[in-house]
Structures are given as structure tokens and as C-alpha cells.
């Protein structure tokens, strides 16, 4: 449910809401499962003793290192590819040492858990996001990999049908790790599903698309580490991690550049505010709402960024005006003028060489739905921005359920002619959801809950 709409409609968070909104029940379920597995693993290892302590220490150190050099994505998401690959590799090693049996899994889990805990300490001290959900997922993933590979496959292959040939072993390992990574995607999707709207399938696709390159590299590196350590011993661990480190480093640069770019686009969007043409916060509100509607209406993750930037910059054309519009609102202007402003904005965006379809989306935001000039359909992004812009202009960013209802009525009247009915319907649903949350919260506050 949109926190922006929630706040806009006058919803106030009761004291308990804050904490609850942080972690959904799915998240708690996951964490409990993870904690349970870790406890069992530690117990197991303590009872049956540590096998091959040198190897355990080496892989443990790898996991620690992986936690230390984690990647942070613009949306606050955190990944630790090296720790993930290291943990999976350790889980896969059971057949190569001839060991099989439940303690293997337990030890794998214990070593990985300890490594993650130690590696996360500096981050905790520095006050950074710990990513407990991610740790829980990884512990479960390592347990699953060890269980599938060692218990199921190796143990049932006493004749050595595929174990003798290292290439076949590698293939089997590859498949197992790929399956575990896919399960991880599903878990991530399930967690996101608990937090925001959208179908489970769409969330799954989003999770796959976050960093498929890194995920593929993790799979490859896990198998590589598992096999290489059997060929050259423990020296393989630092050496064969290098390609993944290079990949991580490149991604880190890439993410940093993306974050900086987003900041610059934000600054560009603030220029009209500073110049007195638009209301402060209007662009940000329109962008947040547009991205929400976009996600619900099936806009893919990459195009969502285009949509966000387009929404932030949709009023850029007003820089060419000599007099600011009242309230910076374009919703009351005659269509020709609105189209002119949109075109001016698109021209500025093209001059700024902003990649993607941002200029196109901005340029066509004022076109009436259903009647493109040369018959071509108005892009979905433009249609979304038209609706969200109108909604914000009409509610003037002020809160209140009544105000919102009036705005929606006005928009409804123009649906089909100016606005896409599908987008308007989606907006109505989002507002209704937020309203439901508002009335629930106000009753909670009233009863002092």
C-alpha cells in the first residue's frame, strides 16, 4: 500500500504500525526458519566435531570477506555474491572428500552462518543495513544445496555412475546450484509480494532481472571453487574468487554511477521549483505515484526508471515560460499550450542526452488518449504521467480524503477522452487501498492501539 497516498489521505501511523510495517509475516517466517537451521547446524557440528578444520576455516574466511565487500544497490538492496558463492561451494564439497551424511550439512550451515555473523559485525557497528532476510535466505540456500547434492544425489550414486567423471560432477553441481539460486529468487519474490502490490509472478520476474549477470557469475564461481579446491587445494579459494571480485567491482561502479545519475536528474527536476515555476515537491510526488501505478500496470523494472525520470522532468518545459503558471499547474490549460510545454520539455531533455525513452514519454504526456497525431498509440508512461500529474495538481498536494475524492471525480469525467481508463482505474484502486488503511489507522489511533 502506498505510504505516500496513505499520508496524503490523512492517515497517521499508530505507534505499533511503524515496527510492523518493517517486516512482514513472511519475513519473520523466513528468519525463524533460518535461525532454526543455524541452531541445528551448530549443535550438530559441536556434537559430531568439526571435520577438516582447515577447509572449514578457509571457506569461513571467504564468507567473511564476501560479507565485508558487499554491493549496495540504489534502492537499498544489498547483495553479497562472494559470500553466497563461497557458501554454496562449501556445501558442494561433500562428495569430493568422500564424506556424506547429515553432519556435512550441519557443518556447512554452521560455517556459513558464523562467517556471515563475523562479516556483518563491522557493518552493524557502522550502523548500516544488516540484511537479515538475505542472510536467512542464504543459510537456507546453503542447507538446501548440501541436502540436495550430498544427501540425495551423492548418497544414491554408490556405483559412481557420474561421480568418477569430473565433467559430469561439474554438470550436476551446476544444476543443483542453479536450482538453489532459482529458489532464492522465488523467496525474494515472496518477500516482496508481502510488502508491496503486484502479482507473485511479476515480482519473480523483477527479482530475476535485478542482477542476472551477478547471479550467473555466482553459480559459475560456486562450481569453480568446489572443483578447483579439489585440484589445487585451499589456494584455489582466493585465486578462483578473482573473476567474481572483478564482476562485483564492475557492478559496484555501475551502481554508484546510477545513483549519482539519479541525484542529478533530481537536481534538474528541482530547477523548475527553484525558479518558481512549479510547486515544491510536486515532481517528486508525481514520480512516486507514477512508479507505483507503473508497477501495478505491468511496466518492466528497466522502464520504471525511465518512467520515474520522465515524471520528475515532466514540467521541465515550463522553464521556457516567461511567467509562471498559477500553482504551476498545467491541468487547467488549453490542450495546445500543454502540448507546446510538453514538446519544449522533450527538447530540453533530448539536448541533455538523457538516455532511454524519457524524452518521448515527456513529449507526449499532453496528448489525449486514443487519438495519436499519426495514429500511433500514446506510450503508457505518458498516459500514467498525465493522470498522476492531474491528480497532484487537483489535490494541490494537500491531504484529505474529500479533496482526493473530488480530484478523482474530475479525472473520471475526462477518462476515455483525455485519460486512459485503465490508468484511472488503477489510481482509484490505489487510493481505495490507501483509504482503507487510513480508516483502519484512525480507528487504531482512536482506540489507543
Amino acid at each position: 500500500m502506498s505510504s505516500q497516498l496513505f499520508a496524503r489521505l490523512g492517515g497517521r501511523a499508530a505507534s505499533g504500525d511503524r515496527a510492523r510495517s518493517k517486516a512482514s509475516w513472511q519475513s519473520w517466517l523466513l528468519r525463524s526458519a533460518g535461525a532454526g537451521v543455524v541452531a541445528w547446524g551448530l549443535l550438530e557440528t559441536v556434537v559430531t566435531g568439526v571435520q577438516e578444520p582447515a577447509t572449514a576455516a578457509a571457506f569461513g574466511a571467504l564468507v567473511v570477506a564476501g560479507e565485508l565487500v558487499r554491493i549496495t544497490y540504489p534502492a537499498g538492496r544489498v547483495q553479497t555474491p562472494l559470500a553466497w558463492a563461497g557458501g554454496l561451494a562449501y556445501a558442494l564439497r561433500c562428495s569430493l572428500t568422500g564424506e556424506s551424511g547429515s553432519h556435512r550439512i550441519g557443518q556447512a550451515v554452521a560455517v556459513v552462518a558464523l562467517g556471515m555473523a563475523i562479516g556483518a559485525l563491522p557493518h552493524a557497528v557502522a550502523g548500516r543495513e544488516l540484511g537479515v532476510d538475505s542472510m536467512a535466505r542464504r543459510v537456507l540456500g546453503v542447507a538446501a544445496a548440501a541436502a540436495i547434492y550430498c544427501q540425495l544425489l551423492v548418497a544414491h550414486d554408490a556405483e559412481g555412475a557420474w561421480q568418477g567423471d569430473i565433467r559430469l560432477e561439474a554438470l550436476v553441481m551446476l544444476i543443483v546450484v542453479a536450482v538453489v539460486v532459482a529458489i532464492d529468487w522465488a523467496l525474494r519474490a515472496a518477500l516482496a509480494f508481502g510488502r508491496t502490490s503486484g502479482s507473485l509472478w511479476r515480482h519473480f520476474i523483477t527479482e530475476v532481472g535485478v542482477a542476472p549477470g551477478i547471479d550467473a557469475s555466482v553459480i559459475a564461481t560456486a562450481v569453480t571453487l568446489a572443483i578447483a579446491t579439489s585440484i589445487t587445494g585451499l589456494w584455489a579459494i582466493p585465486l578462483f574468487s578473482i573473476p567474481l571480485l572483478l564482476t562485483q567491482s564492475s557492478y559496484r561502479h555501475f551502481n554508484a554511477a546510477r545513483a549519482t545519475y539519479a541525484q542529478t536528474i533530481n537536481a534538474l527536476s528541482k530547477a523548475t521549483e527553484l525558479a518558481g515555476f512549479t510547486v515544491v515537491g510536486h515532481a517528486r510526488r508525481v514520480a512516486d505515484l507514477a512508479v507505483e501505478l507503473g508497477a501495478v500496470l505491468g511496466v518492466g523494472p528497466h522502464h520504471l526508471t525511465d518512467l520515474e525520470y520522465a515524471a520528475l522532468l515532466h514540467d521541465l518545459g515550463q522553464m521556457t515560460l516567461t511567467q509562471p503558471l498559477p500553482g504551476g499547474a498545467t491541468v487547467g490549460l488549453p490542450p495546445d499550450e500543454r502540448r507546446q510545454l510538453a514538446a519544449a520539455g522533450a527538447a530540453l531533455i533530448e539536448e541533455a542526452r538523457i538516455p532511454g525513452r524519457v524524452a518521448q514519454i515527456v513529449g507526449r504526456q499532453a496528448e489525449p488518449f486514443g487519438r495519436g497525431p499519426n495514429g500511433s498509440a500514446v506510450p503508457l508512461g505518458s498516459r500514467i504521467i498525465a493522470v498522476t500529474n492531474a491528480y497532484d495538481d487537483l489535490t494541490r498536494g494537500q491531504s484529505g480524503v474529500e479533496r482526493s475524492r473530488q480530484a478523482l471525480e474530475r479525472i473520471d469525467r475526462a477518462a476515455g477522452a483525455d485519460f486512459d481508463p485503465r490508468v484511472v482505474a488503477a489510481l482509484r484502486r490505489q487510493v481505495a487501498q490507501a483509504e482503507g488503511g487510513v480508516s483502519a489507522s484512525s480507528s487504531r489511533v482512536a482506540t489507543g492501539g
Binding site: I166, R167, A170, G213, I214, A216, S217, A220, T221, V223, T224, I227, A228, I231, T232, L239, F240, I242, P243, L244, L246, T247, S249, S250, Y251, H253, F254, A257, R258, T260, Y261, Q263, T264, I265, N266, A267, L268, K270, A271, L274, A275, G276, M319, T320, T322, L348, E351, A352, R353, I354, P355
Partner: protein
Amino acid sequence: MALARPLHAYVLGLGLIAVLAVGWAVASNDSWGNTLALGLLTLVAGSLHSRSRTSVNASLAGAVSVAAFIIVGPPGAVIAASFNFLIWRRGRPVMKRLYSGAQPVLDTFAAGWVYLAAGGRFGGESVTTRVVVAALLAYATLLTVNALLLSVVVKLDAGAHPFEVIRGMLAPTFLPMMGYGALGILLAVLWLGGLGPAASILMLLPLFVARWAFAQYEAEQDAHKAAIEALAKIVETKDLYTRGHSERVSHGVLKMGQVLDYATDRLQALGYAGLLHDVGKVGVPISVIRKSGALTDEEFAEIRRHPTRGVELVGDISFLGEAQRGILHHHERFDGSGYPSGLADQEIPEFARIIGVADAFDSMTTSRSYRAARSIDEAEAELRRCRGTHFDPRMVDAFLEGLQRFGWQPQVAEQFAGVPAADTMTIDHDDLPGIGSVPDSAAADPAMVAVAGGSDGGRPKQGSSA
């Protein structure tokens, strides 16, 4: 590039020797299966050219070459390298294709001899320390021969000195390339350890991904640079005088930064500070910017808010860091009578002291509707006069030295084609009293006198018309 005859002869000669080398290799080769696999790998590595600016492309090919020495030995490595002939890139002239095929063959051929001389073995089950050392030496040879051959091309084509070319090519990339060579050794370990060609998928996949991500990073950087420039230009939609001003100030501060021996990162930040120093003028109402006649106290105050406004606008762009302080304080004066904070001397951030000089110089050397541009010499003299009072002496010296070394591109006359007619006098804030010296010619102008007489907070008018 139009190839001259000596260059033609050179490339053809190389091609001939390459063919001979391949012939020898075919005769001496044993393990054809692995050789062909490595050749295919070379082909793939070379065909996936990314749009990256840096030579990340060559790095993968390097890894494959080193692996080839260890797996199939010099003959096989040469044959694998010959697969470069098969790489197809649209629109390439024949000579270039010949060269790009011949060069790797010859590199590998030379390196192969070094490999054997250093005691390198191949095809065995294990990779010994001796093999590792031999492989690294061979790879270093390969890189050097590569640079040598290329330097001859550059000499024949552009006349550059070979030694300079070698240094320029080898020095920055040698260590990273050697790193990739080391990865080739790891590939060989996996290959010989039993995985065979499948090892290449496992080892090289992360490298391909890394290369892709790096190309994305560079694309993002380019886009970002364009966005910052757009931010600077946005001011120009309202205030036509600023057209070109921000760019010239940016060039000016960059020259000063070079004189002051700034590191590349800091230089880049300085350039951005110069480009964005006036971006806060977006917040000044058009009525004030385009006002003809005297400005009221309120309007003065409005204009003087632009440094603070500027930082408001770009404050969230974290990488700008020091540049933000430069933007905020670029109108401070060395003697403490500037704005917004009245900082003096070394309290003023370094970037701000630098921008102040370049900013004043450019405003003096550009024309307005109410006064002509001053000559570069006049402006220089003015800077010298205000050394220590208005400007930091060290920065003035740096600017003057930069002027000598690099010259100055003044505003082009045609740029003013779009300026409104003379009846609307656009008074530039850099000309306001207490900020810069009031130009001589303006002393006779009644409007300018009115402005000069306008409120200045009661501070003594520095640098008023002599």
C-alpha cells in the same frame, strides 16, 4: 584512415610472416581437439566487442593466450591466435583486418619461444610453479611485442615517436593485463585438471559479465556528464548573458587547476564547480535579471542569494563534494567583504577562490549591451590590481600563468545574436559594486552610476572607477 604505401608494405610483410608462423605451427601441433577449442574461444572473445572505451576487450583474449601456452603449447597457441583472422566486424578495411589477424599470431609466436626458453611445459596434468613463471614471462613478452608492432603502425601512420607510444600504451594497462594473464593460468589449471573446454565457460562467464557491467558504467558516466552540462545550461533559458559564461569559467578553472597540479579527480570536481557556479541564478526572478535601470535593495538581495540557491539545487549530488563549497562561496572576497558569509583569506574554500578569479575575468572580457568587453590585457591588469584585496594572490598568479600557457577563448561576438535589444539593459550581477570593479566606461552611464550608488551595506566601494 588512408594508408600510405610504407604502411601497406609493413602490414603485408607482417601478414606474410604470420602465415609462415601458422604453417610452422600446423606442422608442429599435436593436440588438435584442445587447439580448436581454444581457437573457438579466441574467436568468441574477440567477437564480443563491447562499446567500452578502455581496452577491456583485449584482456579476455590475453587470458585465452596464456591458457593456450599451458594447455597446448606454442604451436597450438599460434593456431588459436590465427582465429583472429576470422573475426568479422562490419565495414573494416582489408588492411585493418589483415593487421588485426597477423599481429596476435606474431605476438604469440614470439611469446611462445620465451615460454619454452623459460622451461614451460604443456599438456601435462598439473601446473607447476615453473610453468606459472614461464607463462607470465611469455605473456609479458606478448604484451611488449604487441606494443612494438603497434608503435610501428602509429609511426608510419601518424609520425608519433615509437617509444612514446609504447610507454603510453603499456604503462597504464600493463598491470591489469598481467592480472588477466594470471587468470589464464587459472583457466589452464581447471582445463588440465579434468574439465577440459568446459572450464572456459565457468571461468570466463564472470569476466564477460564484468566487462558488460563496466561498459554500462561507462555509458552511465557519459550520460551523467551530459546531465550535469544540461543542468548548467538550464540557467541559460532565462538569462541569456550566461550563455557560454559557465563553460568559459569551467575551462578557466580547469587551466588553473592544471597549473596548481591537481589530481585528476579533483580537477574533474573543479571543472564541475566552474560549470555549475551560477546555477543558482535559476532562482532569481526574470524581472530582476532583465530589469532596466537601478535595482532596489530587495532585488540586490535576491541576486546575492544565488550562491546559496545554487547549493540548494546541487546539494544532493554527493560526488560534487568540494565543488558545492566552491559554488556557495564563489562571491566571497579575499578581504572579507564578499557574500554570503563574509569569509576572508584562507577561510574561503580553495575552489571558491579559484572560481572567483576566473568568474571576474570572464565577466570583464565579455560585452554587455551597456558596455563593451575589455581586452585581455586590461582584464589582466585589473586582476593584478585586486590581488590581495578582492582575490587570493596565489590564485591570481595561477590564473595568469594558465593564461600564458593555454590562452583564453573569449566570448564569440555572434553569441550575442539572441540578446534582447538595447532598451532592456541586462545588468550582470558580476558587475554589481562591491563585487567586482565597476568598469570605467560605465562611470559615465547614469544608470550605472545609480546602481553604483545603490546600497552596498555601507561597505566601501572597492575598485570603483579610477
